[in-house]
């Protein structure tokens, strides 16, 4: 590994910029994610910055059990984030759909639609756990070099879930 690649790896590990996305969450995990940036937990020590645009982000933090309405948005946001990128699923909802399992309005869990790198379980998880998940994702990001291209999903194919039939 040459010097430039080693530098790039170090910089990717130390500068994870987040994009926060809610896919039908109850807002519990969202509050905990914001708490992890607050003075008590201070994720900025790891170089974390919350960004407004998925194009600026390295790590997508997705909360919620993935409602059918949000599938298209999730796929668009994932495609718009520039590689190398990582996905952190925050809370039990994106991992298993949690208490909303078998709901007819859901298209979850999240890893049916986009590749997920780190799951942070909990309902909601503590801010410490979220920061640990982000740090793990940043380490994955550093390994994900330029020579291993990342799996891209096509957003051209519309999901059946978006225009679903309501079952009786």
């Amino acid at each position: 590994m040459n010097l430039w690649k080693r530098l790039m790896c170090a910089c990717r590990r130390r500068s994870p910029w987040l994009f926060h996305m809610n896919s039908g969450s109850c807002n519990g995990c969202d509050i905990e994610l914001v708490a992890s940036l607050s003075p008590r937990y201070d994720a900025e020590q790891l170089g974390v910055r919350l960004e407004g645009s998925p194009r600026h982000a390295d790590i997508l933090c997705i909360t919620g059990p993935v409602t059918k309405n949000s599938v298209g948005a999730i796929r668009t946001v994932y495609a718009q984030a520039c590689s190398p990128k990582a996905v952190v699923a925050i809370g039990s909802c994106p991992a298993t759909t949690n208490v909303f399992i078998d709901s007819r309005t859901l298209a979850g869990p999240l890893d049916k639609h986009i590749p997920v790198d780190v799951f942070v379980p909990g309902c909601p998880p503590r801010p410490d756990a979220i920061i640990q998940g982000i740090a793990q994702a940043a380490a994955i990001l550093a390994e994900r070099g330029m020579d291993t291209p990342q799996a891209e999903i096509s957003i051209a194919a519309p999901q059946a879930a978006v225009h679903h039939e309501v079952q009786p």
Partner: protein, 304 residues
């Protein structure tokens, strides 16, 4: 020899070799000062450098329906204008080389802001268009105060030459002008009471929203260079005339650092104002400074 000195000023000091690390350092000071004011520890020392290198290594997604060449051109133009402005600062006394005047320096300082406006409208996102419109309204408002302050300083010295202005002795008119420049700096650097163009909770990243990867890295760099140029301009006006070159350099760096601290503390202590309040603030400011600057310029003319 003249050409060599000019090149050295542009590339070594206070040009690129000094300005780029200084830009990263000032960006870090800003983030760290805000973090300390909020009772946090804040980012590590090398953070802006890590961000820059990381952004260089990212890909850019295809942007359909946007002029790609124009989108790439704006950040490059902004960075080169800001670097040129830093290179023109009269830090070293009587260094020779290319002696630009104040008008060229002001034009170069203004170019990054024009580039931001143009970039927002080029990217055709609704959020960036709002950001650009705000930047344009803000720029029209604060520039009147800024230019009037510069006019009053230049009128006191009867010249637009930078070297003469840097060696100007302290006078009430100079202090008035510097106070006016300080009022404009938060808006010029998009800092908190006037951080309207990049209001992240309202319009995400404003004009930068469609940018990614290396182009975003250039925008970050141009923002840092704007910090160096804007605080450097005030620092050179503030600094007394010193013939020892290393003393002049140290004083320039120390004064710039103090200004950055002052502005970051202000940013951490205040909340964002609405656009109409901001515009009204600057127009009322400008009325006061208009009267003061024009009357003092006339008085100076009459006395000499």
């Amino acid at each position: 020899m003249n050409l060599l000195t000019a090149l050295a000023r542009l590339l070594l000091f206070p040009g690129l070799l000094f300005a780029v690390p200084a830009a990263w350092f000032f960006l870090w000071v800003e983030r760290k000062a805000v973090a300390l004011m909020q009772g946090r520890i804040g980012p590590p020392f090398m953070q802006p450098f890590y961000d820059f290198v990381k952004l260089l290594g990212k890909t850019t997604p295809p942007r359909t329906g946007i002029g790609g060449l124009l989108m790439r051109l704006w950040p490059l133009l902004a960075v080169s204008a800001a670097a040129g402005a830093v290179g023109m600062l009269p830090v070293l006394p009587a260094s020779g080389g290319f002696e630009g005047d104040l008008i060229l320096l002001l034009a170069l300082l203004e170019l990054p802001s024009v580039c931001i406006i143009a970039a927002g409208f080029t990217s055709r996102s609704i959020f960036s268009e709002i950001g650009s419109a705000r930047e344009a309204a803000l720029s029209v408002s604060y520039n009147i105060v800024f230019l009037l302050a510069i006019v009053s300083i230049a009128a006191a010295q009867h010249t637009f030459r930078l070297e003469a202005l840097a060696t100007m002795p302290a006078s009430p008119l100079l202090w008035l002008g510097i106070a006016a420049l300080l009022v404009c700096l938060p808006a010029r650097l998009h800092l908190n009471p006037f951080s309207l163009p990049n209001a992240e909770q309202e319009i995400y990243s404003g004009p930068m929203i469609e940018y990614a990867g290396p182009e975003l890295a250039l925008w970050e760099l141009s923002h840092g260079l704007e910090w160096v140029a804007a605080t450097g301009l005030v620092a050179t006006l503030l600094a007394p005339h010193i013939t020892l070159w290393w003393m002049a350099v140290l004083l320039f760096i120390a004064l710039s650092f103090l200004l950055v601290l002052l502005l970051s503390t202000l940013a951490a202590a205040t909340a964002r104002l609405a656009i109409d309040t901001t515009v009204r603030f600057y127009w009322q400011c400008s009325l006061l400074f208009a009267v003061l600057a024009i009357s003092s310029a006339l008085l100076m003319r009459l006395r000499s």
